[in-house]
Symmetry: C4
């Protein structure tokens, strides 16, 4: 129905039972911030670009002042211990059918690469800014949770605590069960305000990934980068104010007005 288009960048790599890590926009953008950072840090290579007419019908203005269509991309990186695939992007499919179609398409790719595991990253929105955000998990079977708990400090008592996990982060876990791929969702506490950028939560998610996969990423850089971005945005926000109803970028700008403490 929604006719997804896939564009391949470069040659298809040979990967050894890779682990797929998803971080699309969501609550506090906790997953997006984490995966965008890790892709950057590890210099992961772009493999696929996904596009669909059901994406938001708008373009972004990038830092070079040029327009960019919304996109979701898959990257890969061979690290010393694991081969990794990353799913990152500006948007999520906007409706039910698109979200299911996209998730099943991603799982087709995961099967093709004989993925050993899928990890989705997200946030749990609290009424207050958490001082020490905890990471919770849920999964599509008990074994993967046990494997994680052996290595990292992670809370698995999510039942009755969160509502449904909406979008690709949830569907990838649910739909991968039928395909017998182990899948786990790491959900870090964050402030549930729509304007809040959950950097602290993203950091906690990254710590779990670092410990589990022995990645070579510099988490201090994450805080620095975000801090630079803030100053830049505050300066610009004073000059002009956008009153359009579209919210993606507005969200980032607005948080400097509404929130004192940033992740």
């Amino acid at each position: 129905m929604s006719a997804w288009k896939i564009h391949q960048f470069g040659k298809k790599p040979i990967l050894k039972n890779p682990i797929l890590i998803e971080g699309l926009p969501g609550i506090g953008n906790v997953g997006k911030v984490a995966v965008d950072f890790i892709i950057d840090e590890l210099k992961a290579k772009k493999l696929y670009g996904f596009f669909s007419y059901t994406f938001p019908h708008s373009v972004f203005v990038n830092e070079k002042n040029l327009v960019e269509l919304p996109s979701i991309d898959m990257y890969y990186k061979k690290t010393k211990n694991y081969d990794l695939l990353f799913l990152a992007g500006d948007v999520q499919p906007i409706d039910e059918v698109g979200s299911y179609e996209f998730s099943d398409m991603i799982l087709d790719i995961a099967e093709e690469f004989k993925c050993s595991e899928i990890i989705t990253l997200g946030g749990i929105g609290l009424h207050e800014i958490p001082k020490h955000p905890k990471v919770y998990c849920t999964a599509n079977n008990k074994e993967i949770i046990k494997r994680y708990k052996k290595k990292v400090d992670i809370n698995e008592k999510l039942y009755g605590v969160v509502g449904p996990i909406v979008g690709v982060s949830g569907l990838l876990i649910g739909l991968s069960k039928r395909r017998k791929i182990d899948a786990i969702s790491l959900l870090a506490e964050t402030f549930g305000h729509p304007m809040y950028l959950g950097v602290a939560g993203a950091k906690e998610n990254l710590k779990v990934l670092e410990k589990k996969f022995d990645l070579d990423i510099n988490l201090k850089k994450l805080e620095k980068e975000i801090s630079d971005m803030e100053s830049e945005l505050i300066k610009k926000t004073k000059e002009l104010t956008d009153v359009s109803k579209t919210t993606a970028i507005k969200k980032i700008k607005s948080k400097f007005k509404d929130v004192n403490y940033i992740g």
Copy 2:
């Protein structure tokens, strides 16, 4: 359009003019609470699982801390006097087309089994918590109403009292007329607050079914189970609070704050 998938569990049973009882989520979840309880009590067997890309694009976290895709299922049970089919689930199809398609698909199955009768269960939302909720009915012909009134105390003066009956509970009654299957809707009074779980109304609906079909169910257990669920939820709710906009589980949690008296 929405491509429904049906999965069959086990062998198809031979049923003798079964009666189909529907209880999907709706006002006060009166129908869902009743049918979920009766399936549990009678140890009905799962026969079909229904799935569609038009379901909500989210997953639930269950009591084992594992994710579950939303689902609608059909169960069956041969009781001493009647063969019964049950339609239960977490969700309703979300849009008009999906709701009609699903209802007609269920009626195809009902015809195949030569169903003698269809009963849909629902709630009538009042502005106050009813002390003694009454059960009303409407149907697709006068005869089925007469048959019920002979056996049970039930009010049929619904005209001008309720608005349209929305979703599968209404469509199954309306669409079954053309197929010449008798169908009746039992609507129990409940509190119309979006956070309220209509256990008292569900109980009244169950009483009607028990008397009519001479079922062997323990209604006291219903109250006990719910009471346990409450304490459990109240405890957990204090620890963490979900601020996502999705409401299914939040509804259940929130009622403990907004309402003093529970069903």
Copy 3:
């Protein structure tokens, strides 16, 4: 896309360049009240029933306490001077595509019958209840307006006064131009409150039709019927109150609370 189903009742009549009069739900239900009344008064015969999965997914409870699926029907009546077709119903197609598809399907039928003219009836919502509601018109060509103004007192200065005419009442006029069928819309002033039933406006529309087509209808009866309906509804409303979000029937009930003066 939305797969309309047409059901024919009885034999197709031979009509002589009939005039099609549309009155589906809309502002103040001015068109619906008028056309439902005229069908009743003239004892017009049902010719076609239209149905679609894109109709609202709900059923109504009728005065016999039985459920009814939403429907749109076409009726016909040969009067002494003119052959008439009527389009009446409980609902309008709910979305853009459905509204266009339905309107073009109705125009196919109009062409088949060699309709000489199409009249759509609607309301103009004012901020106050009009004491003497005026009737305005717009059309798809100047000639049909001239013909009406010769016979009846009607205001044609609508430009800049109303916004777009939404739904089937507007589209039938706009789309019939290409098919070279003269089409006019009669819009009577009414109170724009969502709960208001525009009987007074409907009556003014009916007066125009009566004068133009020399119909034999008893307009006093319209007021009496409505008055009976009111008392009946007020009585019932006190007993039970529906808090569901669906509004069709609620609208009718609620007006007795919010508005003092009725049509």
Copy 4:
């Protein structure tokens, strides 16, 4: 999916690497006011009419008191230095899929005519009425921005200042990159109030076009025409008030109540 219909008016002209200028409804209608005016001033000829069932399902009443279906049209004009194509209309496609489909269809036509450049016109909504609205630009490559900055005073620092550019104005820029057509968006500051008609912003956009293409248009006329329209509307608005929820025309009427200073 949404089945676009294209109607051609007259013979297809031979154009020499024309420039396509888009001005559909949007923030402050800055683009629409500018392109409608320029089409009128240059007496551009209508070449194509576009229509789709996904357009708003409503009709407008025009100044002759006749109904008009919503439409989007393409016009052309050979000026002394450049051949120009214009895209103008009452509406934008209403959803994501329609917006992408329409934009790609327009780019098919642009390719067929070997368009050398695409310009989309829009507004940046501010919290206050700007006294001297500035014009900003973004594009699909650096070179076209350079070419414009050589000739006209234009600000290119949009990054971090506006949110996404929504609809056809944004997609034409984004999607033309793949087709290797240079495309630029000129965005003039305007008041972001939904009722405000951004004539001042439109004028700034027109000044840029005039200087760049050496057009022969009389900008003083723009102000006069708008001023006439205002008096006419104020007069009529007092007589009758539309309370329908549709907003297109209401917007124009309402600004005279809510805003003191007009463009």
